[in-house]
């Protein structure tokens, strides 16, 4: 049994079918990349896995650790270990990043039957994590994502991931808006989290990120379907050739 089993997943939004039968199995320890042109359903897939409302699942199933993921509320999934690094992280005005992180961490600890984290322990944890990710410590005192630059938002997402230690992490275009230095730091953060019981789904349309986070499998998503799968060399090929040939076959 794989950690994540997606079978024949069909998803519609407002009656329009966006995902048209996705099959994907992921084991612990694996990194899968999904590449594809804009508007093909990559974010839709990530939202459906994370449990966002407004998506109609017309067919198919998703198992996470053998459990029916689609039956669970978004917060249950999160506490069970599903994490989504958002393409467009939300601003939470007035809520200090540290407060937000602590609330999230405590929600997970409660699920595990643990007490709330001690204030000093939390501070130390945050200090070491922000250092690793080269995030200025001051940033965690600011309201979450409010006035953050594109790069800061993405780092804050990776900070949250690193703190919550999910078992299944989806990164939706975490590389967009990052300069090369930031890309390296973020990649180091992800690589540090690689472990045999954790799987990553990395969504991107640039090969660039994948030379830092080396995937085991690469899938091409076009028109709501996975049209080709391969190893990391597929990403390099796509970088050189683009998606034109898939889009032609899709149109045909």
């Amino acid at each position: 049994m794989s950690l994540i089993e997606i079978k024949d997943l069909h998803v519609s939004v407002d009656g329009k079918e966006i995902l048209k039968g996705i099959d994907l199995n992921m084991d612990g320890g694996e990194i899968h990349a999904i590449m594809g042109p804009n508007g093909t359903g990559k974010s839709t897939l990530s939202y459906v896995l994370a449990g966002k409302d407004g998506y109609e699942i017309t067919q198919g199933s998703v198992l996470f650790d053998g459990k029916n993921l689609l039956d669970m509320e978004a917060d249950e999934r999160a506490r069970a270990g599903v994490f989504l690094a958002f393409q467009y992280p939300m601003e939470i005005p007035g809520v200090a990043t540290a407060t937000f992180l602590k609330t999230a961490l405590n929600a997970k600890r409660r699920e595990q039957g643990l007490d709330e984290i001690d204030a000093m322990d939390f501070l130390n944890l945050i200090k070491s994590k922000t250092k690793e990710l080269e995030i200025p410590y001051e940033m965690i005192k600011r309201p979450l994502n409010v006035g953050f630059s594109g790069g800061e938002k993405k780092r804050a997402e990776v900070l949250q991931m690193s703190l919550l230690e999910p078992r299944f992490a989806i990164l939706d275009e975490t590389d967009s808006g990052l300069d090369i230095d930031a890309l390296k730091v973020v990649s180091d953060g992800v690589n540090a989290l690689r472990s045999p019981d954790r799987a990553f789904l990395i969504i991107t349309h640039y090969q660039r990120l994948l030379s830092y986070i080396v995937p085991d499998h690469v899938h091409v998503l076009v028109g709501g379907r996975i049209v080709e799968s391969g190893d990391k060399t597929l990403a390099e090929l796509l970088e050189a050739e683009g998606y034109a040939r898939f889009e032609e076959s899709e149109a045909a």
Binding site: A50, K52, A74, R79, I92, T99, A104, A107
Partner: protein, 484 residues
Amino acid sequence: MAATQQTVDAVRDVEKYKYGWETNIESDMAPKGLSEDIVRFISAKKEEPEWMLDWRLKAYRLWLTQEDQEPDWAKLKYPKIDYQDSYYYASPNLGDAPKSLDEVDPKLLETYEKLGIPLREQEMLAGVAVDAVFDSVSVATTYKKKLNELGVIFCPMSEAIKEHPELVQKYLGSVVPYSDNFFATLNCAVFTDGSFVYIPKGLRCPMELSTYFRINEKNTGQFERTLIIADEGSYVSYLEGCTAPQRDENQLHAAVVELVVLDDAEIKYSTVQNWYPGDEDGKGGIYNFVTKRAACRGKNSKVMWTQVETGSAITWKYPSCILQGDNSSGEFYSVAITNNRQQADTGTKMIHLGKNTRSKIIAKGISAGRSNSTYRGLVRIQPKAEGARNFTQCDSLLIGNQCGAHTVPYIESRNPTAQTEHEATTSKISDEQMFYCQQRGMNPEEAISLIVNGFCKEVLQTLPMEFAVEAQKLVGISLEGSVG
């Protein structure tokens, strides 16, 4: 289920009112209804001097002529109040007044313990002096001795009338006159107790003073009267908290609070109001009609009102500042949360009379369920208020699609050198924000509490530390539902 729908459900469900039990103590009650005899009864019970009774009767007679003039300009809907259908005096049957905590009925102490009021010795370390008002009579005053040594007077109003008549006669009704408004006039006639505070010249009161009001007896209106005087160069921080048991019928609460601030003095007055709000269908709950006003009489005097209003079925309340002294300043920080069928019409009045007077208004309204919340404010700058400044910010946050938020700001400037600024925003908790929080493992209630606390942080930060924490929790509780 859409996150918004979930949110709506979360806040629509029956609020579990944490403080909804009652204490069984034989009450010493006046007969039902309102008449000149009742006014005399109250005054006699309190062993008041003649001048006090005269003042009450003057107010009562005026009120009689206004009986049909209950204010109707607020955006509030409620059935006509029958003033003859209430009791105007209820006192826990204590025999002689207790001289120390040990003499206080243990049942009362239990009640306060449930409310989390630090009355007992060990809790005094927390640095809070409590004047507890149980229905109409103050039952215990802690810290009194220590405060006495500093020259601070902190006692029940009924005691002040007897012990400090010169101060009471000089200041009572000097900020809110007996003829001020329908509810204030009623209060003058039948008020039963409340707190009296005098801070002497030059003293920075070293501890927070705090009063918890609690309505216990059935069908009892509670009419407290509070008067705080900060003499020249003094400072005091005062906190008022309120809860009342859960009942099906509505209860009337019409308090008056007067603050007098002399030269270079400062009063910080914080309220956490958590009266029973009624059930999800709007049954029961407190009608809260309150007049609160501060007179900044001296130069450089300062008043800061902070209120966190989460309770009551109806809230009608406008803590105001009369900025008379040159360079005096008034600040108003407010969080008003309404849920289910609650209605709040609240705000402030800043009347600028003196030169270079300054005022600042930060009002945060949160509406959920089918509730309605109105910010109503007046900033008036009189011709002599050279260089006056006002800044007003009103933010409304809506939860769900069935609630309402309204902003009614009046600005009247009669001096060309004055500057006023007004900012207003209305926002909703978005599905995206909810999803984001839930994706991080928070349940919908936790997410709402976090977002709402963020929304009102600026106001909560002005509360004394220990109460800020309490208020944060209250914000969560008052929006609580039973989402599965």
